[in-house]
Subunit: 520 residues, 2 copies
């Protein structure tokens, strides 16, 4: 082990923490577990939003959703928001991308500043600061930013849209059926495992890493799985059965009039209508578990190659997810909202620095947030303190057994469901659909615009089965947590053009600049 020279920041899409064996899950994930053994497993890592776009923008900017403003999928990230790639660029390096970012280009911003979209600066800004080796966001046919479609064709997957025709297609007897339909989740995908999305992007990453030869590198490898469509290639499609899928959790208030109105509205979404049926959840979970096992296998392939090349010695590896998913728990499907199935994610960091030797294999119960990734990577690369506008903290002191001063005692997550059918169900306007969560050691509290809050007593009810948001006798708890949320909102880093440090260096110095106020 030696100093950090490279960074490999691996993200999975929609990977549920409690499915990994190192987090007590039912999917054997020996290769991810091996990362855990070499690094630190964070047990309380939370994303800033339970949906891809805003969560990733927090990972990439080091800022909460209310600060970066890209509140849901497909909302462009303002080009005024510097990203991990931009910060690393400032210290003379770059962040390569293989896979998904969900960054939507801020073309209005480019136009405002007269930046040609195809200029080097325009290309970088449109990509959220990443240098795109191969960008592929998944859940739609690969676009021109990805080589996947051509790569598939070169391997015999013919057709105008090999993704729809092979990758998310399955053969049901003689009939080709679609992976969009949950009923087909038990079938193998019409793509060989070695040609699947996960395999392809691992190949891209490995080829790119080897092409760097002796140059140090930073790579964001961002898998689009185990996100839907829920269709695994053989043999992963058949690795698990319904009986392997474990309990399905239901709370006493699920779907009743006592349930929170936003939760009830979410039940009207297609994915909740489907996953609300236990037979559907039992039918789909094995495919999801297979996709998780497949990701693990490719993480293993990647790590083996790094080890063979001597790169494990000098590469910081982070492994996490943009959010989890319900998979039928609570009668819900998919993601969003604020239950732990969605907002609490796997988060493992392997720091090759010898100062981290003391923590290898440890579990750390302290709160970690997605916004910590930017400060951590910058610190690991010798970039010093995080930029002022970053709202997260470097995890290096935790990894290296240092005393980081007072650590945070709460995490925050946000949702803007303006884009969702739930808004229509509830008869609300866009802009009236925000939820904000604070989770402390004891409580999870969610404030909703226009509705009562949600409250869970995590000590007595760790599965969050009983919503105390309207329960009598809890007024004081709710008020205290609401006050925490308000204080948090009131202290966001909205003064982005001048740091606190710069202000402290010039406080009360107007006389020095020739301004003499109020002297007799």
């Amino acid at each position: 082990m030696s100093a950090v020279r490279n960074v490999l920041f691996i993200m999975c899409d929609q990977l549920r923490r409690d499915h990994l064996s190192c987090y007590g899950g039912r999917v054997p994930t020996p290769h991810i577990d091996a990362l855990a053994a070499r690094g630190v497993v964070f047990d309380h890592a939370y994303v800033q939003s339970g949906v891809c776009g805003p969560s990733r923008m927090s990972y990439y900017t080091g800022r909460y959703v209310t600060s970066h403003g890209a509140t849901w999928n497909r909302v462009p990230l303002s080009i005024a928001e510097p990203t991990l790639g931009d910060y690393v660029h400032e210290i003379g390096r770059s962040v390569a991308l293989a896979g998904k970012t969900h960054v939507m280009p801020d073309d209005d911003g480019l136009a405002r500043f007269g930046i040609a979209p195809d200029s080097p600066r325009g290309v970088r800004l449109r990509a959220g600061g990443f240098v795109e080796v191969d960008r592929y966001d998944g859940h739609l046919p690969p676009g021109p930013e990805s080589g996947y479609a051509d790569w598939l064709r070169a391997r015999g997957y013919a057709g105008a849209d090999p993704w729809h025709e092979h990758v998310i297609a399955a053969a049901d007897g003689g009939r080709v059926v679609s992976g969009w339909q949950l009923r087909n989740a038990h079938l193998p995908a019409c793509v060989a495992e070695a040609h699947s999305e996960t395999a392809y992007m691992t190949d891209v990453a490995l080829d790119w890493i080897r092409a760097q030869r002796d140059a140090p590198w930073v790579l964001h490898l961002s898998y689009v799985k185990p996100h839907w469509p829920y269709l695994a290639p053989a043999p992963y499609h058949a690795m698990f059965r319904g009986a392997d899928t474990g309990p399905i959790v239901h709370g006493p208030q699920d779907g009743t009039a006592d349930e929170h109105p936003v939760m009830r509205a979410y039940r009207r979404h297609d994915e909740c209508q489907s996953f609300g049926r236990e037979d559907v959840a039992r039918h789909v979970r094995p495919a999801y578990m297979g996709l998780v096992a497949q990701v693990d296998a490719h993480v293993g392939r990647l790590m083996a190659a790094l080890e063979a090349d001597g790169r494990l010695r000098d590469t910081l590896v982070m492994f996490t997810a943009d959010h989890g998913e319900f998979l039928g728990d609570r009668g819900l499907g998919e993601k969003e909202l604020f239950h732990d199935e969605v907002v609490r994610v796997p988060f493992i960091v392997v720091d090759p620095d010898e100062r981290a030797d003391a923590t290898r294999g440890r579990r750390d119960a302290r709160f970690v947030e997605a916004v910590d990734v930017v400060p951590t990577i910058l610190a690991a690369l010798g970039g010093g303190e995080a930029p002022y506008r970053c709202e997260g903290r470097s995890l290096l002191p935790l990894l290296r057994g240092e005393a980081p001063g007072a650590w945070r005692d709460a995490v925050y997550s946000e949702l803007d469901y303006s884009f969702r059918r739930a808004r229509l169900v509830l008869g609300r306007r866009a802009g009236e659909c925000r939820g904000t969560m604070v989770r402390t050691a004891e409580w999870k509290y969610v404030a909703w615009q226009g509705f009562r809050p949600q409250l869970f007593d995590l000590a007595r009810d760790p599965l969050e089965l009983r919503d105390l948001g309207a329960a009598p006798g809890m007024d004081r708890v709710r008020a205290d947590l609401h006050a925490r949320l308000c204080d948090w909102l009131a202290t966001r880093r909205n003064r982005t053009t001048m740091s606190d440090a710069a202000i402290e260096a010039r406080t009360d110095l107007h006389r020095r600049f020739g301004i003499h106020i109020g002297i007799w």
Copy 2:
């Protein structure tokens, strides 16, 4: 009267509302009163911060301070914040500037986007979107963006720094003394009235307007007075006496241990040390009043010229201030904090459109905020609805006697005293120094980071003499107002790259884009 063709947006610096005769004040201001007679006088107009920089950035962006982020003087306005000038530019016109803006250029932003500071775009962005005819921020010698220093020299005011040597200098017997010192406020400035800052900028404005000939125009005429240094040219220096200055207001808690800690800390500032002495307040107020009378005279000169040119018929005139000042009331000097002397400003609008004939000479008690200026000007110029990110509302419906739907029932103002000695007095870090005010019809409530709130019962205590922030029996009132503040904070327009309307047009339409989530 006819349709709006031109806009004249006049701002005074540090002009206290209750000093104008049309607001019941002791300074006869016949020319401003004439505007009032032709237009609508808003009785409850509030600025978004009681200090130049953040207040003006709200006037210029149509956004609250927490949204635009320029929280105090000298904090650059992010170039990602479009301004009045930018919006007007988008409809093919421009906003000229004569006077002060206090916009600090966001040079880091320019560098990020590769915009040369001296390129046309760079010049416009650095100027906050204004086309600078003559930019002069006052309180320091005029820089190269203003012609004032050369203009003075051409009129015989010799020296390297004619501002210090003449404009804010006075002759006390044979000795030249400085206008920085309050003790000299009774003396006439060493500049002729016709060559004073207010006269100069009126000349600049008039020359520019006439140079437009038949072309329509938008001008921001932004006087640096009656802001300090408190030195009026003859005859205005001697127009008022101490006996004319009216009562000085003191609350029972002023300076006592019961007073709010932030208020007490402000008393340690030089200006409060000085203005806390009644003799100083009585000594300075006449000069301030003279400066107000002088502004009025030049407004009269300007309006007479516009009338002679036929421009009153087609020019929308707005007259307001960036904030007021204490002038010794409460034992305080200068500005900041949240009392009405500071945050409630004069606000008069003359709309030449015949649809506004019915409201001429009226007083309107509805709440108006600085953020309303951008939407109002855009609407008047036919620019349609305000851009989504604007947080204010057009006042045209109020001016034209239309029913604007539910109007706002509260106003908001903010302060970041990180830059001030008060922070050091209170032993706080930058970033821990925010105050946020909500003012409803009945109450004014200020939440302070780290301290108890302030609360004033405006029905029983319109002068805000008794702070009920710690008074017993008021918990419910405070909680309700605090909740309003939280709700307000949680609904800021931080999603700047996509509007609510755009979201409403695409809600729940993922299937249309080929994404089929959760179907059986």
